[in-house]
Symmetry: C2
Subunit: 348 residues, 2 copies
């Protein structure tokens, strides 16, 4: 039992292939009567368009977009960000019957190779890119490949790619002011790898905000988003002579790790140490104390970026858009600084 083709429908309806194609695609060229008849027959036959055939025919789309995730696989599994993003992107795509190709890579070169393959083999109509880096070669590369793309991030360094970006600096300022108001002077930012553009942005915003708030003991250290590195970094910071009283992490994973290290070292949170996480996820609400975090609507961002890509594929001019800044959700991990450093009474 072969899959029915438009030819089968044409025969059954006693019309030509062309007429069927017009009817099925809702475009002018057939009368309403014939259209309805054709549609009925198509549904009777259980017809569905062959995607390869559609893609092959003059200028057809392949009906798929790609997303490459380039992060160390250790942190990937646990990083809530991506699945949420994927979920959002798909919500939007599924409405138009477009599929999502997901690829996980180890480094930027491999990522570029994937784009090259997708473009040359005509696997996707366009891609969504994330995690813009300093001197990122990808905007130029996809441009060179003629591969339509939108970027979640930027807009600096994105070339002429349409971006969906957030102004993190206002969130950073909010956090710094909040911590300063709680009495913290010695605030340290545990940021992501310095090659990420948003890390650089947040770092600058942090220094600026700290200066403005008069926090002399504020500085940033780089880590790599994984729990292990977050733990290591935290251990070093808490073992220093001048122990920070507040830590701001660039993602929730490192923050959770930091919380664990604080517990392990007998540093009470929040009385001796306040912790702020960047990405807010269920994780932040699960641990104790729950983590104060800056939340973004990742699913919403996924939806919006998918919508932008959709418009790019339609050939419409798409301008970069700024999305709302992350919101601070104060929870149990932040509190007023307790001046005297009484060592915690551990329960033994």
């Amino acid at each position: 039992m072969r899959r029915p083709t438009i030819m089968d429908i044409a025969k059954a309806a006693g019309v030509s292939k062309g007429a069927v194609s017009y009817a099925l695609n809702g475009r002018p060229g057939v009368s309403e009567g014939t259209r309805k008849r054709i549609l009925d027959i198509a549904s009777d036959l259980g017809w569905a368009p062959s995607n390869p055939a559609r893609a092959l025919a003059a200028g057809g789309r392949v009906g798929a977009v790609g997303l490459v995730v380039d992060r160390p696989s250790r942190s990937l599994g646990i990083e809530p960000f991506f699945m949420q993003l994927v979920s959002g992107i798909e919500t939007e795509l599924s409405a138009t019957g477009v599929d999502l190709l997901l690829q996980v890579t180890e480094d930027t070169d491999t990522e570029l190779a994937v784009y090259r393959r997708w473009a040359s083999e005509r696997r996707v109509d366009g891609v969504v890119m994330v995690d813009l880096r300093v001197d990122d070669p990808r905007p130029a590369a996809v441009r060179g490949l003629g591969l339509p793309a939108v970027l979640l991030g930027g807009p600096g360094g994105a070339g002429d790619l349409p971006c969906l970006y957030t102004d993190d600096s206002s969130s950073v300022r909010e956090v710094v002011r909040y911590l300063a108001a709680l009495g913290h002077r010695h605030v340290v930012q545990v940021s992501g790898p310095e090659e990420f553009a948003h890390t650089v942005d947040r770092g600058e915003a942090f220094r600026e905000a700290a200066d403005r708030a008069g926090l002399a003991g504020a500085y940033s250290v780089h880590s790599d988003y994984t729990g292990e590195a977050g733990a290591r970094t935290t251990r070093r910071l808490l073992a220093a002579a001048e122990r920070p009283t507040a830590l701001v992490y660039d993602n929730d994973l490192m923050a959770v790790a930091g919380l664990g290290v604080a517990a392990e070292m007998g540093v009470d949170v929040p009385s001796q140490l306040s912790i702020v996480a960047w990405d807010d996820s269920a994780l932040c609400r699960l641990v104790r104390p729950s983590l104060t975090a800056i939340g973004r609507d990742v699913v919403g961002h996924g939806r919006q970026v998918a919508r932008m890509l959709g418009r790019v594929l339609e050939g419409e001019p798409v301008a970069s858009q700024e999305s709302s800044a992350g919101e601070l959700h104060p929870r149990g991990s932040t509190g007023p600084l307790v001046v005297s450093h009484v060592s915690a009474v551990t329960s033994e």
Copy 2:
């Protein structure tokens, strides 16, 4: 500048399209000399096969497989399992230039609709299925669609699908014996939704093992894998008159939530309560105390299941395979039961 086609190569080489096709696909029909010449020209021209064309031509593959993930989106984002699985599947697929289509759905009906669409529109060559349920309609559905598939789970209830399955009962027994040896009598299993086949399996294995170990106060309660539900369930259990002394969770997310609830209720882990998580992920090592967990090689499972699907697509007969059982990683969340229920000295 058009993409080069085999016709361009044929002209440049002064041969026919057919010859080029043979040469490019490494099959007999051309002499070694011409083959080499054709290959060189193809690479000079930067030729790459058009996937839609390949798929459309007689019996061609579309070179993509699908994975549908059907879980509440709240837990999804944070559930390390899937990204690891995806990562493993892709490692294997990328070697053969096959892409992965990922779709997140809300319920089984939507999942079935996705398979139907993928099959009828020829979007994928086959699918990987996970999370087998009791009376799962999917094996029969994909069979009816003629959609090649392999299942991670089963083999009971999988019909004639090739499965990659684990015998969880031995792991369950190991955990129960371990907890019993630590002096625990009142052990409760916080399992996933009862519609999942592996939940049923583990539940039975748990009861059996508990009986054999003489644990009178052992029983199971159902939860739904999300952190929220895990927390709620734990709260209820710890508030009961007969408080359990050990909890075994069906995934790491609920276990972390349970750990948080214990802290919140002043129940010390592990002196008053031992906690075991099922899926071992970085998360288990991040929290304090770190979680004793049963770890599986999820990435490895992904690779293997992808390999099995590959063989199915080759038309080879593929038998179900049993993968190694999960291993127990004892960490800080489990310990000997401290008999007297001294309420914890909280650090205040």
